[in-house]
């Protein structure tokens, strides 16, 4: 049996958001993308801590942008998903779909 760590629910959301936002993926648009798709308010601090964890796992990489006056002279940190990150997302999707199939309560939208 493979002993890899599972991706957490919020980790998956953040990875999807990084992919969804694309080249301009830094904290604010990533948080906004999660809020828009989930309909829930998201803490920017949680997004950052999750991104740091994902980077430590090698699922995203980061690079510093240029400091801007609008942000009080602070640079943005841009994130990009790695090949390993995409593989992990695919694996998570396969696992969910496999579990989803054949569960009658999840068909037809009646909880």
């Amino acid at each position: 049996m493979d002993r890899r760590e599972f991706l957490g629910g919020f980790e998956q959301l953040v990875l999807f958001a990084v992919l969804h936002v694309g080249n301009d993926a830094y904290g604010v648009p990533i948080g906004k993308a999660i809020e828009e798709s989930s309909g829930r308010s998201v803490s920017l601090g949680s997004v950052y801590i999750t991104l740091e964890r994902l980077e430590a796992k090698g699922l995203v990489t980061s690079r510093q942008g240029e400091p801007t006056a609008v942000r009080g002279g602070r640079a943005k940190t841009y994130f990009r998903i790695t090949g390993k990150g995409i593989r992990e997302l695919r694996q998570a999707q396969r696992t969910l779909l496999h579990l989803w199939r054949g569960v009658p309560q999840l068909d037809g939208g009646n909880a």
Binding site: V28, S43, L44, I49, R71, R74, A75, T77
Partner: protein, 207 residues
């Protein structure tokens, strides 16, 4: 933003502070923005503390040594301090306000604060300041951890004294039972303030 800068810049999260500035300019609502700042500080501090457990242990030992070494002797001398300094103060206040004695709640609380509690608050401030000075860029986070531990300890002791071992005269006559809780809040707050003042942002020393 001052709080966010003190807690987040030191641990290399300049970008998060920049993002918060961007959110502030977006002006969704002041309450929502403050929720974002406090949540970012809490999350980042929790993450830093968990990933630097040895530093946390050292901060707790230093913080408690300073707190114990300074605040406990002051607490032991409480009655002497209150009687030496409290009586002239009560007389002085009585001249202007008509009446001031141990049975007048506001007066008893003020005498307690002026003669004794401020010395304890100063000790707490020093404990936070020393912890921040000796823990490099994680100084503010470590001081906050010491503040929380002191707060939990003191509230535990007071709850124990109120519920299990009531001490006569612990609460001034006529004062609400939660008065000691309010007074005690000053201790962890003073430690945290000492930490914020004493921290050295962007100093990688010791870390």
């Amino acid at each position: 933003m001052w709080i966010a800068e003190r807690f987040l810049s030191g641990s290399g999260r300049e970008s998060l502070v920049g993002d918060l500035v961007e959110l502030y300019d977006a002006r969704r609502s002041r309450l929502w923005f403050w929720g974002q700042v406090l949540s970012a500080v809490a999350t980042a501090t929790g993450s830093d503390l968990l990933s630097h457990k040895r530093l946390l242990l050292r901060a707790l030992v230093i913080g408690w040594a300073v707190y114990y070494g300074l605040a406990f002797p002051i607490t032991a001398a409480r009655l002497d301090l209150t009687s030496w300094l409290g009586a002239p103060l009560a007389r002085w206040l009585g001249m202007y306000e008509g009446r001031c004695g141990p049975d007048v709640v506001w007066c008893a609380a003020l005498i307690n604060l002026v003669t004794f509690e401020w010395l304890v608050f100063t000790s707490c401030f020093l404990a936070g300041w020393i912890v921040a000075r000796t823990h490099g860029r994680y100084g503010a986070q470590m001081a906050l951890a010491v503040a929380v531990s002191i707060g939990l300890f003191e509230y535990g002791v007071v709850a124990w004294m109120l519920v299990l071992r009531p001490v006569p005269g612990f609460i001034p006559p006529g004062a609400p039972f939660f008065l000691p809780m309010v007074t005690l809040l000053g201790r962890p707050l003073s430690v945290a303030l000492g930490g914020l003042v004493g921290m050295r942002p962007n100093n990688p020393k010791l870390v």
